[in-house]
Amino acid sequence: MTGQPSETINQTLGDPRLQLAIYSATNRLMTHRAAAVRADLLPDYQELRTEANQLKKHTIDHLDYYLELFEKNVVAHGGKVVYCSDSQEVADFVLSLAKERQAHLIVKSKSMTTEEIHFNERLEKHQLEVVETDLGEYILQLAHQRPYHIVAPALHLTRYDVAEIFSKNLGVEKEVVIEKQTAIARATLREKFLHADIGVTGANFLVADSGAVVVVENEGNARLTTSAPKIHITVAGIEKLIPRAQDLGVFLTLLGRSATGQPLTVYTSFLSGPRKSDEIDGPDEFYVVLLDNGRSKLLADAEKRQSLYCIRCGACLNHCPVYRKIGGHNYPWVYSGPIGAIITPQFHGVLKDPWLPFASSLCGACAEVCPVKIEIPKLLLKLRAEVTDAQRRQGRGGVERLAFRMWAWVMTRPKIYLMLARIGGFFAPVLPKVGPLGKWASQREVPKLAKTSFHEWWRERK
């Protein structure tokens, strides 16, 4: 299809080591999730999904109200809220704050939102050192790569890759024992934590009634990022709001289980402002950047707006047979897998990567495991129709459209359908592009048309 990165997709498909890495990682995550949502362990699982969906729907449908409520409560606890329309405004804010506070070193915990806006690259241009501290993200930063997966960012790299990356960038001996690699990262990053001026995190949830930022993680790097430096900045999309702290019961129960099969991740931090005056440690300044960056555009469509319910658990990636084949880097944006396939066209316009909504067999495994019940296949279908419509308005995609017009014309005229079918024309309209039979045959044998169709059998039988 137009624009699809066929070459790199085929490279991924033809790389047995990479295929093994993807399959073993996603299999493991799927197994863990399945064990964690088993009916005997979590009898309310389906109810929780419905509640999460309704809570998100309510919040997103009244987002302006919850943004202002959140802001009010952040301010009440001594923090500051900074609204940003786009990535440039985020960079401008952080740069001017860093300048005022004479800050040079920023430590960061894992955040898809900052990946989305190329936060590090923007700040590094201005002589700020920005260090990723999640182990996977740190490896990727050293290797100049983007995350392969929403929750397991370096799942495509082996210990041997990591040995190369560490030795090249950190000047250490090549070390292939994973425990020792982890210790190298711990030691290197510990120094960064202790000297950092600013800590930057994303947010898993923004709690409106508390003005709190909730961050979940397993390593402790987000805790360090929010505890050691004197300034903590959260960068979060405006869709991260949830109404009340008490709603966390629903969301945290679903998030850890859906992502990695953990009932709760190792650390769940509920952060609601700078340290109180008598506290010994913790940040002196607390900022929450509320980023739009195109999200408000998505709200306009009452059906597609559910894309913003996503809590980034990654379950749809793990269960997607297409993601499991093509991996994360063949998707055009940092958000990969089924959720990437529905949000990327909405952020960038459907004509930028028109192939993306079509890169799905519509098997529905994603929707089945989505903890907030986003109707991904339905939205893919909607986006497909938007692609063909946008192409029509640009005077493109005419051959396929004409083929389907003709096909529909034939399918509403039974006599012509039967006649054409007999002369073998059946497949041509269904597989409209030039050479679809060839594409079919590239992978599998072509089925033969039956000598007698069911129509004919029925007629002769009478």
Binding site: S361, C363, K378, R384, F404, A408, P436
Partner: protein, 241 residues
């Protein structure tokens, strides 16, 4: 008086796998139904709908609804087409009140074949015989949109001489996905090969499903690899004596 059922055999069964429609007819007649076949039928419209052409799909859907307007039971040898008829027509006609009413009226009368046997007829043992080990492939739309999981297995369990051996990845997509199979042939083919790896581990000689399109994909890859496995629609197994 005999109860009447109308067959919608689907375009793929009509043209490529008529034996599936014939088998379905035999099973239903043995169960005492008067089987009818509205001859104006063609396709449900799904190829266009899934390819981003809802208007063209709507044209074909309208033809379907006009053709099957009167039928009390519409029985279909495909989970995917059944789901199109019972779930997606209402989306296509969301802003056309007259057609929406027609689609809503038709939706509860549409039954996937195994679902019809289990839920309407209330039968599990249709008196079939099949010698061999089979494994069952859950087709995606039947499983996730129609929630068909146990029904086909119950029917298979009652077939004399048949051993059902579950594959590990029974619920994983075969990779067909309609035009996906030709728009992304390598990915689609890769998915089918992963599915077949799972089938091979069962050492079953036959793969059974309730969707001929999945079976076309699976059989196509099996034939390319020249593997000694065949595919059969559930109706064919149930028609066996």
């Amino acid at each position: 008086m005999k109860k009447r059922v109308s067959l919608f055999v689907t375009c793929i069964v009509d043209q490529v796998f008529p034996q599936v429609g014939i088998a379905m007819t035999q099973v239903l007649e043995r169960l005492g139904f008067q089987v009818e076949f509205p001859p104006a039928q063609t396709c449900c419209g799904q190829p266009a709908f899934n390819s981003g052409y809802p208007d063209e799909a709507g044209t074909v859907a309208r033809h379907f609804l006009n053709t099957f307007g009167e039928s009390e039971y519409i029985v279909v040898p495909s989970g995917s087409c059944t789901s199109m008829l019972s779930h997606h027509y209402t989306e296509i006609f969301a802003s056309d009140e007259r057609m929406l009413a027609l689609a809503r009226g038709t939706s509860p009368r549409v039954w996937e074949f195994s679902q019809f046997l289990i839920e309407v007829v209330g039968v599990e043992d249709v008196g079939a015989r099949f010698d061999g080990v089979v494994t069952y492939h859950d087709s995606c739309h039947a499983l996730r949109e129609l929630h068909i999981k146990d029904g086909p297995r119950k029917l298979l369990a009652k077939v004399q001489g048949l051993t059902l051996r579950e594959m590990e990845a029974a619920e994983e997509c075969c990779g067909f996905g309609g035009t996906f199979s030709v728009k992304f042939p390598e990915v689609s083919g890769g998915m089918a090969r992963t599915k077949i790896d799972s089938i091979l581990k069962t050492e079953a000689g036959t793969v059974v499903s309730i969707d001929s399109s999945c079976l076309m994909q699976i059989q196509g890859v099996i034939d390319r690899a020249r593997l000694p496995i065949r595919t059969m629609h559930l109706a064919e197994v149930l028609a066996g004596r």
